[in-house]
Amino acid sequence: MNMIRDILNWLGTTLKLMTYNKAGFIGFLATCTILVICLIGPFFIPLDTRTKLDKIYQPPSTEHWFGTDHQGRDIFSQIVHGGKDVIYVAAVAAFLSTFIAVTFGTLSAFAGGAVDGFIMGLTDIILTIPQFPLLAVLAAFIKLDNLTFLGLFLGLLSWPALLRAVRSQALSLKERDFVEAARALDLGAGHIIFRELVPNMMTYIVISFTLALTAAVYTQVGLVLLGLVPVSSSNWGVMISLAWTQGAIFFRDAMWRIMMPILAIALFQLSVITMTRSLELAFNPRLRTMV
């Protein structure tokens, strides 16, 4: 019971802290709304797959909020169903890259010597590889049709920049007296990394995570748009890709069809990036006690 109360307390304080930055809080609410619509929406709004020849390329109306596509299908339902996969792949990629960067960045800073040399060497090599062309080339050999696999793949390529930043932060933090005190108290490497160092980098890590998320969305959509990733179903990237290949940009009537997924992606990215302003507040212990 006590633990549940503590968790609720923590959540309450965190939410309150997040309201301190108006823009950030709006971003947070918008992100939540988009997540709810994309994750729960599909259960309530059926995907419109029926071709209706009399309703091709209709502008937004009360019946079709976002208009209709070239087969007269409702774009709104496609948007609702198309977010899940994009966000899932981006989240997998962001989790993996943040995890690699934080774990090995702190390890590198801590172990020093040969371990540090090896990790940094590898990081430099991965950093010099141009990501997008590599993905394009690899897509020709590997079938990137599994969402989790695609996410892991993107994550495996996007950790180096964050790793370097984490390492430099850990390098400066580890010289602080409280880390030395923890060593004197023999609290162990696990405690020092996860209780002493990581909490002090939390703000930075969370923000990097969201930025990695947005980067993964763009990379993914870019790959789909180029047709390098044969992701079936309707996701935002596929929608743009299809509209593009069918020449939607040349017809005024077809504008809604290509604009809506673009807007959905832009809105999601904007919300996530604005949200980081509030996250900055939520992970600062100094502010926590002022509530």
């Binding site: 007296d177 409280f178 030395e180 005190a181 004197a184 108290l185 023999d186 609290l187 909490p199 002090n200």
Partner: protein
């Protein structure tokens, strides 16, 4: 009695090649259980480096640290962990010695739980509260859930002391433990530390640049004076304060301001030949103090490093100039 801690020819060098500096140069001393020893010297003289090597936080370039008679380098891992816990350090800066993301409760219970000193839950909290009371942070309940930034410098320093006590140490290295604390509460922290010495049978190595403070804290103990990585003089505090033998100790003492104007007027002032401390990168040959020393004897002081020699009044002095000559020059 066997010394609880002994260092033999302890040396620490930093850097490589031309940039190589010797921060601590062949330092030897021994500390008996229950004794209080103050390490005194200007900044950069290697006193903190010595303290960190004693606490096992920094590896010596050469020489040995013996804790309870055993060389810490030769301990097996279990014994080393016992040593690790037996020797704690209190840092100078209370603003960087506590993790800003943890509450006092987390700071104190982590080591308690890690080393199975208490069971999780209520007993851990009870012990943490007890420790806070030991360091005079009362009422302890008001402090335990605070973050470091909600505490004053003095309070933080007390939390740092309480944290060191969680593992029941036998030896505490207090590295300038009160020099960043407001003068008004220094004495109360020093008194608290002196009380711990009695109650918990902790032996203190007190590192400071302030001779007046050393005199206050270790009146019954000993003072070791360091200059540019070497010990220049050590001895029982009362002898060293009333009858300093090394010209550097004399200069340090004469620089301590006296509150009594009568005393201040008659106080012997030592005129140094130079105020600049030589760079560790280019140490003068022989006695490193000779460029500043008022008793400098050419051909004697600037040739070989003078050895530390025991004197009958107690302690050791490293000065090649005979005592009579030194005194006659003084008059």
């Amino acid at each position: 009695m066997a010394p609880i801690l002994e260092v033999r020819n302890l040396t620490k060098q930093f850097g490589k090649g031309k940039e190589r500096v010797t921060a601590v140069d062949s330092v030897s001393f021994a500390i008996e259980p229950g004794e209080t020893v103050c390490l005194v010297g200007e900044s950069g003289c290697g006193k903190s480096t010595t303290g960190r090597m004693v606490a096992g936080l920094l590896e010596a370039t050469s020489g040995e640290v013996l804790f309870e008679g055993k060389n810490i380098k030769q301990l097996d891992s279990a014994a080393f962990r016992r040593y690790r816990q037996s020797v704690q350090i209190i840092h100078q800066d209370p603003y960087s010695s506590l993790n800003p993301t943890q509450t006092v409760r987390q700071i104190l219970t982590a080591p308690l739980l890690r080393h199975n000193k208490v069971k999780p839950g209520a007993t851990a909290e009870k012990r943490a509260l007890e420790l806070l009371e030991v360091v005079d942070l009362t009422p302890a309940r008001d402090v335990i859930d605070k973050y470091p930034h909600q505490l004053s410098g003095g309070q933080r320093q007390r939390v740092a002391v309480a944290r060191a006590l969680t593992v029941d140490p036998k030896f505490i290295v207090a590295d300038e433990a009160v020099s960043m604390v407001d003068v008004s509460i220094r004495v109360s922290i020093l008194t608290m530390l002196a009380r711990l010495k009695e109650e918990f049978h902790v032996t203190f190595l007190f590192i400071t640049h302030d001779l007046a403070l050393a005199k206050y804290f270790a009146w019954e103990g000993r003072i070791t004076v360091m200059y540019l990585g070497r010990i220049v003089e050590d001895g029982p505090t009362q002898r060293l304060i009333t009858d300093p033998r090394h010209p550097y100790t004399q200069a340090l003492l004469s620089a301590v301001p006296e509150a009594d104007p009568e005393l201040a007027q008659h106080k012997r002032q030592i005129e140094l030949r130079g105020a600049e401390i030589p760079s560790l990168l280019a140490l003068p040959p022989g006695c490193t103090f000779h460029p500043r020393c008022p008793y400098f004897a050419p051909g004697l002081c600037d040739v070989a490093a003078p050895p530390l020699e025991a004197i009958p009044e107690g302690g050791r002095v490293a000065c090649p100039v005979r005592r009579q000559e030194r005194v006659s020059l003084l008059v």
